[in-house]
Symmetry: C2
Subunit: 425 residues, 2 copies
């Protein structure tokens, strides 16, 4: 099997001044082609570090994608380091020098002398074209590995990987790309509790399971490698969904908001939202998607009691008798938000996100949630003790979305989730 590694260069990546999105993009693009990266090394702009890492990793990998350090400034030294690592000199690549001169002429600019450096490649390098920038790519064979040098500018990297790198490794290593992936989105279960349920299953050969925590969700990834495993993927997925029950809330979606958005978009159905403790989170996550205006009518973040009365028409006596965090209040909030524009659905939340504001009867993490429809209202009051303010809010939003999702599927709206408690009515 071909061993692929990545070397990321640049002080700003190593020092955390920028998050390395190139690395994540490259790895997930390779995954989609069925190729796993074995290791990624990130180094700064020090010549001796670069030489050392090229020499060292070229003993272990078959292909190494090197990203960054091809620019015109003094801290761009990938080509020089590669030449030194191989013990050869830098020579001017005529073709690229011509390309640079043409590029600057086309852009009506004079070429700074510093850009000439970008045409200097290690003697044994094979040039790799970059039609979208001034940094020339190249590849060099050292020890076991092909080192493939790419620019740090994201769209130049992407272009070069798609147009040059992938065809190159396909050809060079005769790759078989048969891989499939299914993602299940879950809420209300810890990673270990999900694993305890899944790990006893006997999975067919070629099928592996991964977990990714992205609170309030945990995503389960089912990888299938090879045609036989891919054919079995739907059956395995069905089995896992059965075992996990209400924990699974979406397939191949990143969040419940995306699932709701997809279901409501162009459905002709409309939604209103009244939020207290979730503070705009439910609304905001939907507005993130273009086209949400087709179904989302308004989201009313009625943080104060006065606003619940004035904007949503909650009865002041309800607030007095039951408090803002109560089933009667949140039901009136949902009904009020729905009635203003006669929406098909309205979601409402009211709770104590913390860290302060809890009482013995209603501690921090108590959240009332309601869904109003044209025919009635569903509500529950959940318990999320010992969660951070942010997690109380994001879990509450997830439960609210799930109530609506289940209503849209005409399933029971209120269900138990393993790690989420509930007050009896």
């Amino acid at each position: 099997m071909m061993k692929l590694e990545m070397i990321c260069t640049g002080e700003e990546v190593l020092s955390g001044q920028i998050v390395d999105t190139n690395a994540a993009w490259f790895a997930s693009t390779m995954m989609e082609h069925g190729i796993e990266i074995q290791r990624r090394v990130t180094v700064g702009d020090r010549l001796e570090d670069l030489i050392a890492v090229f020499q060292e990793r070229s003993l272990h990998a078959d292909v190494i994608l090197v990203n960054g350090g091809l620019g015109p400034t003094s801290d761009d030294m990938s080509a020089e380091a590669m030449a030194k690592a191989k013990g050869e000199s830098l020579v001017e690549n005529r073709e690229w020098r011509q390309h640079l001169e043409d590029w600057f002429t086309r852009n009506n600019r004079e070429m700074p002398v510093s850009n000439l450096k970008q045409a200097m490649l290690p003697e044994s390098a094979v040039m790799v074209d970059n039609p979208v920038g001034t940094a020339c790519g190249f590849r060099v064979k050292l020890n076991r590995a092909w080192l493939f040098f790419t620019p740090g500018v994201p769209f130049e990297l992407k272009h070069m990987v798609k147009e040059q790198f992938i065809p190159f490794i396909r050809e060079e290593f005769d790759l078989d790309a048969k891989v499939a992936l299914k993602k299940l989105l879950t809420i209300g279960h810890g990673e270990s509790s999900l694993a305890d349920k899944i790990e006893p299953l006997e999975l067919p050969e070629g099928i592996t399971i991964g977990y990714r925590s992205s609170m309030p969700h945990i995503e389960i990834k089912i990888f299938a490698r090879g045609e036989k495993a891919i054919a079995l993927l739907p059956r395995v997925t069905g089995h896992i969904k059965m075992v996990l029950g209400t924990a699974v809330v979406a397939e191949d979606k990143a969040t419940l908001a995306e699932e709701i958005h997809t279901k409501l978009l162009n459905s002709g159905l409309t939604l209103s939202v009244a939020e207290s403790c979730t503070g705009g989170m439910i609304t905001s996550q939907l507005v993130d998607f273009p086209g949400s205006s087709s179904y989302l009518q308004h989201g009313l973040v009625t943080y104060s009691n006065e606003s619940k009365v004035r904007v949503l028409g909650v009865n002041p006596a309800t607030l007095d008798d039951h408090g803002a965090v109560s089933i009667p209040t949140v039901e009136e909030m949902a009904k009020g938000a729905r009635a203003i524009l006669d929406s098909d659905f309205a979601l409402a939340t009211s709770g104590i996100a913390g860290p302060d504001g809890g009482t013995e009867e209603k501690p921090v993490g108590t959240v009332a949630i309601a869904l109003a429809t044209r025919s009635g209202v569903y509500s529950q009051m959940i318990k999320l003790p010992r969660r951070s303010r942010d997690l109380v809010r994001s879990l509450s939003a997830a439960v609210a979305y799930d109530m609506l999702r289940r209503e849209l599927l005409t399933e029971a709206v209120i269900v138990d989730y393993q790690s989420i408690g509930r007050f009896s009515k």
Copy 2:
């Protein structure tokens, strides 16, 4: 000099399914303490890869922070790999087993058997406490290096680095901690335009400048190393602020929302928000902070025209004559939101976030913003062409916050930002 490296583990980080924000956070936190990372290696969940990287890097570094792989599932194998790398066995740490049992008892849950694994540490390991999770940290000496193992959950990592790791390296390597840092938050300028203004300044010895892009903000970090430089830091900061003018919107705050929250908290002043294109972002960013209920009365995300009329009292004729994205509409939205609860201030936004919905007259990126006060209303219509939907929304929220910030300082509410255009009224 102490050589610090980082090893990130986890298939989901290596494969790019998640961007490695832990790595960026750790590196920039170390930078703030005056310590540079030399190299970062990212490996997946394969035992032999982990063993190889521990053995190899322990020959080169003095301290290696290892992140991830301490969970209860079968793909968490950092402790096992470390034990194998050192040729010793895993033994149960009684103290941590007790901690786990107490943790689950306190949370009224039965401990899954899989969690027992989290108490198994390499024989020579020194346990490192994790008061905020079930993953036990530890450190092991191998060859030249101390390998320091930390959980992958971001807030557990952060807690352990601050409370345990930094004191440990301080003590072990006798580090000189004389470093100070000032952060300036900016909006409306590109990084190169900020650098063009700052780089001509002659900075005293020991003072260096860093930039961090966290859209819609760019943060400028002014590091001072040594007592002399620290003493000069206020003067240098003042000079840079003068040179940058309206670009600087806060000091030592991560976002403008945090600056507004700090100013309004317990001020006795109240705020209402009416959002259209920003879709709850302004409200939601404030609700993120505990205590925001002391000033935030409500945030009305009036996405549809009907909602602007019914909830905010916008005149239908205004919408007909000028459209939803217009100065008159956004002014009525702000005045309406303020009037409902007689708030001191109200912010309103209405714009075209894209990718669709633009016209020749009002292209994607056109956003009207208003601030209503007890004495009047300020408004402007800005142009944000060629920005993503998300950036149009976050820049609009930032400009709205800045209008309120400037009003609270009794400065001119509407000012020019270099990279943000504006329609003339």
